[in-house]
Symmetry: C2
Amino acid sequence: MKITAVIMAGGKGERFWPKSRESHPKQFLSLTDDGKTMIQKTVSRISPLVQTEDIFIVTNACYRHLVIEQLPDIPPENVLSEPCGRNTAPCIAFAAAVIKKKYGNAVMLVLPSDHLIKYENIYTQILCNAVVMATQGNNLVTIGITPSYPETGYGYINFGEQCGNAYKVERFVEKPDLKTAEKYLSSGKYLWNSGMFVWQVSAIEERFRKFMPEVYRGAEKIGQAFGTADFEKILETEYNKFPSESIDFGIMEKAENIYTIPASFGWDDVGNWLAVERINKTDDNKNYTEGDVITENCKHTTVCGGKRLVAAVGVEDIIIVDTDDALLVCSKNSTQDVKKIIARLKEKNRTELI
Amino acid sequence: MKITAVIMAGGKGERFWPKSRESHPKQFLSLTDDGKTMIQKTVSRISPLVQTEDIFIVTNACYRHLVIEQLPDIPPENVLSEPCGRNTAPCIAFAAAVIKKKYGNAVMLVLPSDHLIKYENIYTQILCNAVVMATQGNNLVTIGITPSYPETGYGYINFGEQCGNAYKVERFVEKPDLKTAEKYLSSGKYLWNSGMFVWQVSAIEERFRKFMPEVYRGAEKIGQAFGTADFEKILETEYNKFPSESIDFGIMEKAENIYTIPASFGWDDVGNWLAVERINKTDDNKNYTEGDVITENCKHTTVCGGKRLVAAVGVEDIIIVDTDDALLVCSKNSTQDVKKIIARLKEKNRTELI
């Protein structure tokens, strides 16, 4: 069966402000020293499994030019432009309908565009196992990350009995508090929900029909119009009617035959500025710097310099990000609050900085 | 007797990098919200005591244009340009010789150009008392600041018996350690050495002749040449021969008839970036910000913004200074280490940033 990939690239990356902007979000940035952007790395990482012409990128219409610029080998018709953001469920239904139109049925690898994977061979092995599982009936397979510490910022997957290389999913749980996360970790029965899914188009379509029938019908119309002159118009009309819903809440938490494959391939969701020191090499004082930077007696400090000299003196556990028009100085305890800066800029209508 | 003022404005202000640069140091910057530069405030503060034409500014030749630009009312011939920096003793000898040439004898108020005074009326009252003391014989009068806490970054003046409004100086002491500073404070017999002096030209000349005879002779030649065609040449020749020496070490610590007047007029030496929050109004979280700044959950943080937005998130006890070509992020414990950044820039020959 044809193996396709659907890369979801509609995020705004607000937690990476000021480098990430609404017009140029995180998935289009390079946050590692190899100079490749997050989405470029995502595409290159799945190339052992999926042919380039079978890779689909779903993104907001306003990022279409960035996708085409950064991924010139992807056929432009595979870049699926959402007229508006409606979270992951409509995004996946849209892609599934297009793939159905093109191939009838196929396996879909559904992947975020802005995560990092350290051990790419293990990654493709795991995905290959997931493909096997997905082709055995109408299973929905999700990749679960073996947790290494009690993270409170992720959702968890509780799994039960083994079934081949996969495990039956008992339930999906929301972000826990620390105590609960510690319990999850020690139980050995919980995985981090990575947002990576594998299934057949027919399997996910069946679930949309059952749990999100209005999205199913809309996506059907979009799929049928794909490749015709009416496509843009129908896409716009139908997409605007979609509810904004995640695939987890809309389908995964309700459906049967959900399986998970536990994975340890050095996954990082690159969720906020703290990730930069994790995914890059730090110096003896655990500082990470890029650009024209001088550190004097600093520890555990991340400096992403811009066009100017940045001098950091005697600071610890601080993140400094310099850009042409905005500078962020953030405590490592407060990386989630970067979003609040964007909210305040919005209040002030300072859209040029968002 | 004529009252003159000699404002010493040759400092480099390294501890205020990156706002202060070798080409535009601290005394020529505005660090308060009234928009006046430090040297402008110094001149305006002594105007109740000294006529404008009797104010002399001694500065490095390379800052002459800044003095003339910022102080257009000072006669250009009163701007005394040092060919090279030789610390305060030669600077004062130079000014004394010029004033002697012009007025024979006069009272000299010798003042730093980069300090702040909160209570200016008390300041002029104290200086007036010092002038009275200085005109009674060959007394050298120094203004001592009543210490408010055991500062270890200043020199101290130990005083003895009272004599009119002044006290006899027993000795000058170098920067103490904390324990010694605490003893000084509780003894009630120590003042901070402010670097402000009052004396007659004849009195300081007599001491130069005795304790720094080579400086005396060189200054004599410079004074005699003042106003003649040879002045520049003689100034250059003689100045280069001067040793680099402070007035404290060269004269004050050795001479007799030294008096001090204790003063409490809200003096601040504006010694490093910590001063900015002291001399300006802070918000409820003790943050001081200027420019386009957003703070989110910050405390005790100073942000001197430049042309761009600065967003500070969750930081505490941090100083952020943004300029066009360099940015400083400094812990409040490390303000003295800003000099080390300049040293490292010098090593790298990055003079454009110094």
